[in-house]
Point group: C2
């Protein structure tokens, strides 16, 4: 009942690494990014390959804990650990890192990361409205453009930026279309397969190739739907996974939900819907349009963060959600504190059952999580 | 061997509460503040009494944990708990709260705090250099002035601001002079007494009265010195307590150091030297001068935070420090991550023994802390 194309996506694991190695030997530049606030369009316009470097695996964490506190978000420790142990090919090949002052842990970790690679730290405002915040951010985005021009000895024209906007808008379009397939009841693809696709296509050196793969998968899913094929039934509880970013290696909650008979039909997180639902305006001055789009990102590092509450409610409706699991990585203060307000908001607007889970990348709490998640699914069934 | 005036300072506990109650009945306004970035001069210029609201006690924390995550800084939980339980007279009497986007925990907690009181959240940049950060911050400081004028129906003139600057510069002058008395070997005042003075005078409604009390204490200490009186000997290990803010109720590490035979001669934290070593320029346009001074505050929420490293090294020299204890409240990511870099910096510049302690406001680890601190003092003796 899995789409046949999943094999092709799974093969990306090896292919992506070989592709980036090849691109580097051909003189291509690579720009590493950690957050959804990183305006990838500018890297693309500079002729570079943008790659996401957020760590999603447990393996490098012990090495990171020699420098970083144990009581810190596993994503930050994993990211630093990959850099410190030089075990991530994408970090290894990166010519420059882009990062933003999003959360305390990342911000302070970046100070240590600067030892390994040249970095451009963008000063991100902590709020999204008001002309001062917009201007402050625009200046930072402009500085990034200047830095990339200087670093890679290129000139980034408005034409280059428009081309990059068009490409990345198309990427977001296909990623949204793919995720929106899960609005069907039952969803034609499991949450684990969806996550695998979203995650692995993110490391493709050639964005056009990745878009075409995703478009083909959408066609296959439509075909499956027309034949009534799905891994689930119309009665399978439909879960929205909200909160922190999840990837392969940090997927245990998704796996547990589906092992326990649920269907994860939506990921609100920044590797998934949050990255796809919004587009860069194609009419405005390109750098301005890019700055505006990225500042709108509804991350919990913003205060207030009304946009996320509205996005979650919208997803509850559109994806016909039976229950929300709000995931917090251990020691992620912003998502953790915000979860209280999100729950309150959901209770007022939708009464959708809500479960907050705080965990890390280790396997130590898997049995405990199974018990909680089974009970949650039982309640909403 | 304690200064006689300590009795007068200890009496402030009761007196301060009665004074603020009296001031309120006389129609005075009260402005509550949480961080050293709050420009108290503007509150004073608006005719209001500025009070610091950061919680330093364990009692309200269980109430806070009904809303906030357990894995959060005790200072934040204590501050929120005091508000939620209405057990802090200063919070109770506050007409308006000023807060800044300093750390993740505070920023997100303030969203919840806004339920209790009107608030003005100042958008603090995450770095201190560059014209954009300075302009961004200046605009926020100006917005605060406008808000206080509107809220209290007053006009704040440049003359008012200059008077407030002069008063608060004098307050910082006396607080620095007091702390600098501890540069003498042995220090004429214990760390616990110094902390008591710094903490309790902070809640005085009448700043001139508090300044005069501190100046009298300095005179008494000078007199003690001339008679060779001190609670310590020239051989007592001299400790600099660096890191997070400490107050009465969150003083356990200070108490343990002195119970174990050490002398805390300096507090780098924002209730102590960090609040006193720097002055507002009296020549520049007053609002500009205020904005500049506050943005210079070397807190770990800034990235990078070179100013704190320089301040610690300066204090090591001037206070003839034998050992540094760098204190981190549990889950304070910024001070916790920065401690690694501070230790490295100290090792390169000064080789002063360095101990990081991460703890909270509870008594659960007191015996364990005693063992670690005794061993540390033994090593440097």
């Amino acid at each position: 009942m899995r789409p046949k194309l999943m094999k092709e996506f799974e093969a990306l694991r090896e292919k992506n690494v070989m592709d980036i190695k090849k691109a580097k030997t051909e003189g291509k530049r690579v720009v590493g990014m950690y957050c959804l606030y990183s305006p990838a369009e500018i890297a693309v316009a500079a002729g570079a390959i943008p790659v996401t470097l957020c760590g999603t695996r447990q393996d490098p964490i012990p090495a990171a804990e020699k420098v970083l506190p144990r009581n810190l978000c596993p994503l930050i420790k994993s990211s630093y650990g990959f850099a410190a142990t030089d075990t991530c090919p994408y970090f290894h090949f990166a010519d420059l890192l882009i990062a933003e002052t999003t959360c305390d842990g990342k911000k302070k970790m970046y100070e240590l990361l600067a030892e390994f690679k040249p970095m451009q730290i963008l000063q991100l405002p902590q709020k999204q409205d008001g002309v001062e915040a917009a201007d402050y951010w625009y200046t930072e985005v402009k500085k990034l453009k200047n830095r990339l021009e200087a670093e890679f000895a290129v000139t980034i024209t408005d034409h280059d930026l428009r081309d990059a906007i068009s490409l990345l808008n198309d990427e977001r379009r296909c990623l949204k279309e793919l995720q929106d397939m899960c609005q069907l009841k039952p969803s034609p693809i499991s949450g684990m397969d969806l996550l695998t696709v979203l995650f692995l296509r993110g490391f493709c050196s050639d964005k056009r190739e990745a878009i075409s793969m995703v478009d083909n998968l959408i066609l296959e899913l439509k075909d499956m739907v027309s034949h009534g094929l799905s891994p689930f039934t119309a009665k399978t509880p439909r879960i929205l996974l909200a909160g922190v970013p999840v990837g392969l290696g940090s997927h245990k909650v998704v796996q547990i939900v589906e092992d326990c008979g649920g269907s994860v039909v939506g990921f609100e997180s920044c590797g998934a819907y949050k990255a796809a639902f919004d587009q860069v305006d194609v009419v405005k001055e390109p750098l301005q349009a890019i700055a505006e789009k990225y500042l709108r990102t509804p991350c919990s590092c913003m205060s207030p963060n009304q946009g996320r509450f509205e996005l979650v409610v919208r997803m509850v409706d559109e994806f016909k959600i039976d229950g929300i699991i709000d995931l917090t990585w251990q020691a992620c203060h912003t998502y953790n504190v915000e979860s209280f307000s999100l729950k309150k908001y959901i209770q007022e607007k939708k009464q959708t059952p809500f479960l907050q889970i705080e965990t890390d990348y280790s396997e130590s709490d898997v049995e405990q999580l199974k018990v909680r998640i089974e009970a949650f699914l039982e309640m909403i069934r």
